[in-house]
């Protein structure tokens, strides 16, 4: 569904993404992981049109996404969330989600109704009339997801939707994401919470220092020496494998 081919981006002397190539199959949940600063969010920014790649190609359902504005790419069916949540603070939860609903709905009543439905799906139903600014961090994360879902996307790019959530909140949101895929939306996650990655994804790509260093099933990745070294440092792969997967 999404083909990222040799995408490279440089900021000054830093190579943020280094000829990254990956292919997201339609209907899957996959994950993009890697240490902080590995280039994951930059890749999302390039896919969604906020940053222009210096080299490479990005294709969605065959059509090139390069050079298109973010709103165009969203209209094509690819929507992203932001790592640092960006709610429309002065509007209510319902009004926030309705903005996304309006992408494919002209009439206000329709958009508001759809917003209500999406709010229920992510568990924000009871807080529909609250000011977005008054939500907790967990609420704002759900709102971020809801806004994106309301655009009826085909592919959703979730950027660390679980950051800042406590374990029970994580437990609550995992089935929500699974339900999103059940409803026919392909999901690509950036995540640090390994438990969620292992639980949810069928396929994992690992970035380090801008380059793709491994890809495969979650289990294969967890045992991959290069991945272990990327996270734990040089030489860590020779430590017992059990220690590496103990706290996933």
């Amino acid at each position: 569904m999404l083909d990222v081919i040799g995408v490279t981006k440089r900021f000054g002397g830093v190579v943020a993404t280094d000829a990254v190539s990956l292919s997201v199959p339609a209907g899957s949940i996959s994950a993009l992981i890697g240490p902080n600063g590995a280039g994951k969010t930059t890749l999302f920014a390039q896919i969604s049109g906020f940053v222009k790649p210096d080299a490479g190609e990005i294709r969605f359902e065959g059509a090139s996404l390069l050079g298109r504005a973010p709103e165009e790419i969203c209209a094509l069916g690819v929507v992203r969330t932001f790592q640092i949540v960006q709610p429309f603070a002065g509007l209510t939860v319902r009004e926030n989600i309705a903005v996304g609903a309006h992408l494919h709905r002209r009439r206000r009543r329709e958009a508001l109704d759809h917003a209500d439905a999406v709010a229920e799906r992510v568990g924000l139903g009871p807080q529909r009339d609250k000011q977005a600014a008054a939500l907790t961090i967990a609420g704002r994360k759900r709102l971020e997801l809801a806004k994106a879902l309301a655009t009826d996307p085909k592919l959703i790019l979730l950027d660390e939707v679980m950051a800042g959530l406590n374990p029970s909140e994580i437990d609550e949101i995992i089935p929500v994401i699974r339900a999103v895929r059940q409803s026919g939306v392909t999901v690509l996650l950036i995540e640090h919470v390994m438990r969620a990655v292992m639980n949810l994804s069928e396929r994992v790509w690992v970035l380090n220092d801008g380059a793709l260093i491994a890809d495969g099933t979650p289990a294969a990745i967890a045992a991959d020496a290069r991945v272990i070294e990327a996270y734990l440092g040089h030489g860590a792969a020779s430590a017992p494998a059990a220690a590496a997967t103990a706290h996933a």
């Binding site: 969604s48 709103e71 209209a75 929507v79 960006q86 309705a98 903005v99 992408l103 009439r107 655009t151």
Partner: protein, 321 residues
């Protein structure tokens, strides 16, 4: 109470005033307050709902004013047609400026300064051209009649301006429950987040600027009909730019009735000030400045915001008063 009912009640309550107010002075005063409310509504659409603070709104006011004045004087065009063309001309100026400015991503304070620069540039140009009458200005020939939009009875102007304020109220209410308005407010809150979920921020802001410009331009046309005189200072000077932003800020930015409340409060206080402080030049405006500073310091949500906060504290169930 539904919005449309509120608006209808307001207009219905105001409409009989010319028949009730005996004094010509107070009728003129109310007409002027309504006029500034209308100008404020135009600014409110762009700033309150769109988040773009223009410090040179006189750019649109003046362009509309000059358009209708020049068309009437040089081409003998009918004043009502001139009124419509004034709105169109100002909208075009808004679209042109907006295209340039938004294409290059100017926001916030830069946007405010650039609008001021444009207004000043137009003032200098108007001051130098013969067709605009240069520094001397333009005089529209006196021909009192309804057909020439020079109402022989002052109540005519009152009703015209009231109708325009009603139009502004309806437009603003429409903003609050339309797709365009929802997108505009999303852009106001967070432009990048809006774009990520499909809002074309550039076109939205451009449309808001053109709409706001059209309203301000039509206000300019009304001004010309009321006073039959225009010069670069009046058209493009800081006076109108400041009036345009004061009413919504005092009354409540981003609310439907804010500009109306603000205009009446402001001009009411100014009138009281005149009584207390005398007709001394400048003191009135000092009052405006003090009010602006105090509002921003202590009541950034304006009088309406204050009312809402109070209502929320008194009646926890109330949301959108």
């Amino acid at each position: 109470m539904p919005r449309s009912l509120q608006i209808a009640l307001f207009v219905a309550a105001m409409a009989p005033l010319p028949l009730v107010i005996g004094s010509e002075f107070w009728l003129a005063w109310t007409t002027l307050a309504l006029f500034y409310a209308y100008l404020g509504q135009s600014w409110n659409i762009l700033a309150g709902y769109g988040g773009q603070f223009s410090f040179g709104h006189a750019l649109f006011f003046g362009s509309g004013a000059y358009a209708t004045a020049m068309l009437q004087i040089h081409l003998g065009l009918n004043a009502w047609a001139g009124f419509l063309l004034a709105a169109a001309a100002a909208a075009a100026v808004g679209a042109a400026v907006g295209y340039l400015v938004f294409r290059y991503g100017l926001r916030g304070s830069y946007f405010a300064l650039v609008t001021l620069a444009f207004a000043e540039a137009f003032r200098v140009v108007a001051n130098s051209l013969g067709i605009t009458g240069g520094g001397v200005g333009l005089l529209v020939p006196l021909k009192p009649s309804v057909a020439t939009m020079q109402f022989p009875e002052k109540s005519g102007f009152f009703w015209l301006v009231l109708a325009l304020v009603g139009l502004g109220l309806i437009l603003t209410a429409w903003l609050e429950r339309s797709r365009f308005g929802a997108r505009l407010m999303a852009v106001r809150e967070n432009e990048d987040a809006a774009r990520a979920i499909g809002v074309d921020a550039f076109r939205t802001k451009l449309a808001a600027l053109a709409l706001s410009g059209a309203l301000a331009g039509s206000a300019g046309a009304v001004y010309v009909q009321m006073y039959l005189y225009l010069d670069p200072g009046i058209a493009y000077g800081p006076g109108m730019s400041i009036e345009a932003l004061l009413a919504p800020i005092v009354g409540g930015l981003g609310t439907i009735f804010g500009p109306v409340l603000g205009a009446f409060a402001l001009h009411g206080i100014a009138e009281i000030g005149k009584v207390g402080l005398g007709q001394a030049p400048g003191l009135n405006l000092v009052l405006y400045g003090v009010l602006l500073v105090l509002m921003v310091m202590f009541m950034p949500n304006g009088l309406f915001g204050l009312g809402r906060v109070t209502l929320r504290r008194l009646l926890p169930g109330v949301r959108n008063a």
